[in-house]
Symmetry: C2
Subunit: 334 residues, 2 copies
Amino acid sequence: MAAEKGLGLARVAAAAGVTVATVSNTINRPHLVAQSTRERILAVMTELDFVPNRAAATLRKGSARVIGLVVPEIVNPFYAAVTESVAVEAGEQGYALALCVSHDDPAVERRHFEMLAEHRAAGAIVVPLLATAERLTQLRMVGTHLVLIDRVENSHDSCAVVVDDVAGGRLAADHLLGRPDTRALTIVNGALTIPQCADRLAGTLQAVDTHSLVQYETESMSIEDGVAVGRMIAESGSPRDVFCTNDQLAFGVIRGLHEGGLDVPRDARVVGYGDLALATEGDVQITSVAQPKAEMGRAAVGHIISEIADGESHRHTTTVFVPELIVRSSAPAA
Amino acid sequence: MAAEKGLGLARVAAAAGVTVATVSNTINRPHLVAQSTRERILAVMTELDFVPNRAAATLRKGSARVIGLVVPEIVNPFYAAVTESVAVEAGEQGYALALCVSHDDPAVERRHFEMLAEHRAAGAIVVPLLATAERLTQLRMVGTHLVLIDRVENSHDSCAVVVDDVAGGRLAADHLLGRPDTRALTIVNGALTIPQCADRLAGTLQAVDTHSLVQYETESMSIEDGVAVGRMIAESGSPRDVFCTNDQLAFGVIRGLHEGGLDVPRDARVVGYGDLALATEGDVQITSVAQPKAEMGRAAVGHIISEIADGESHRHTTTVFVPELIVRSSAPAA
DNA sequence: ATGAAAGCGCTAACAT
DNA sequence: ATGTTAGCGCTTTCAT
């Protein structure tokens, strides 16, 4: 595997007594080559430690078997899971994965897109924190194939993989409202300018119906924020059936409630969102709305690959995943 | 940034009234080009939306500005942190990062190395779970530049970035033994066949000196394992100064001790290892030995780049990071 | 300071 | 089934 310089199809061809075309065919379209010839060539290739040069193929074909993945960060269990799944799936499909961490900095993001373009990447999967219009326009410049993993506005000019957060919110709320004597809900949310937060709230509103809803909005959706809100809930008359729009909040809220003297699930029920590792690390296992992170990554790679295969006839599609409620002790079944 | 086909140096050159050589120089060695010419060429490049083709450059130069990163998984805060830092650093140095997830499967790993070789990657950073000899031999086949992030045996034929786990173990033990009346320690470890575990124990042994040490060995170093051991410690006469060789264990041990009626840090002190997010997510903030994950990633990229720069004269070096103790409430200062 | 020209290794259309 | 050949777009040496 030494990638020896000067060792190309030509030398393999010479050693095998054929021409480069036949060697190229053994690699890319084996069916066009006679079995015996093929075997001889393969033998020579191993013999010489031949490693095909993808740069040459890319130059010739105009496109590399490379998929770019642009994420705001990896140190975040959700992105880590998506990244891992994209990496695995890309690898299995014979694509290299070019990982780009943007830290949500437009300048960095732009540099990454330029790099992907220079490499003639076959496509890019982007997990934007905020899929603003300007941003997307920029993204589209990369070239042909672009898949977004996120909630995308109606005007999507790309394929996308999204989670139905409205359904997720509804799922959580319905679960909490499932007990006959539950008349009201508390929701602990992040800023409503974040589409996911708005959607989860919308789903909740669908479910509350005639019931009432007390809303808390936190700044950073962190464990700390959750603790603070949990204490407030314990001290106030807020409903003790609490839907937190992420697991960090749920984790914190449970602690805050506890500090306020309330036991979960005896005195209060809590549902989280995301089904992160965190959900099962605390003293009480958290019921949570699970997003199919691995499937999302796989679907994204699938979109790119079929977009490539489709060619001209491609029509953009959006894969919508419906989240699933994982019931644990923080909010047991009714 | 449209990466339009057929648009290369040639067309830019024509439009600017120069030859390809001058355009190439404007990109790669601007100082060789007259200011006025350079500006004109730059203008034409933006005008035409020219995106240089790296595949061509790679083909010509024989090596790509690509660094491979091979990790067993990303869904693991330690690898996630290292990966993120490698990604950022590589990006800043103008390298693309080819991320490979091996799931510790030798076959998959091998495929990844082949891919990196085919792409003529400038180097690879490998975070092997087990740096067995066979494995390393295989790795070395990738080509020229290889950096390991891990504890490496003496016989290292590559650059490496390691953490001094003996020092780390000693750090933890010294801290626990810092209180005048502490005569003995408990260590909760993983399998001693794992070098890191063995080293952390070795460091502990350096510190215990005449004190005595009670050892627990767990199967998977998980939170669950920790809980079980924590209960055992509470019920037994094991020393209540406990060093856990990772944060998961520490997290679990604290819970187990608690279930056994012991308060941390009042009745028992616990030190973890790794300084993961987990360390600060529990009810009690965990004192932990921190590995400089980001610096490690940065150092690894640095090794590759200087190895490239050094050329022939390169001598392999190992960067050893000494971990640092982050004191929190689970084991306050004496 | 700029130009001319020879490939790097591969693919694919065309010919045999 | 296999051979011939023309580039893909770039870097770099050697001239000018």
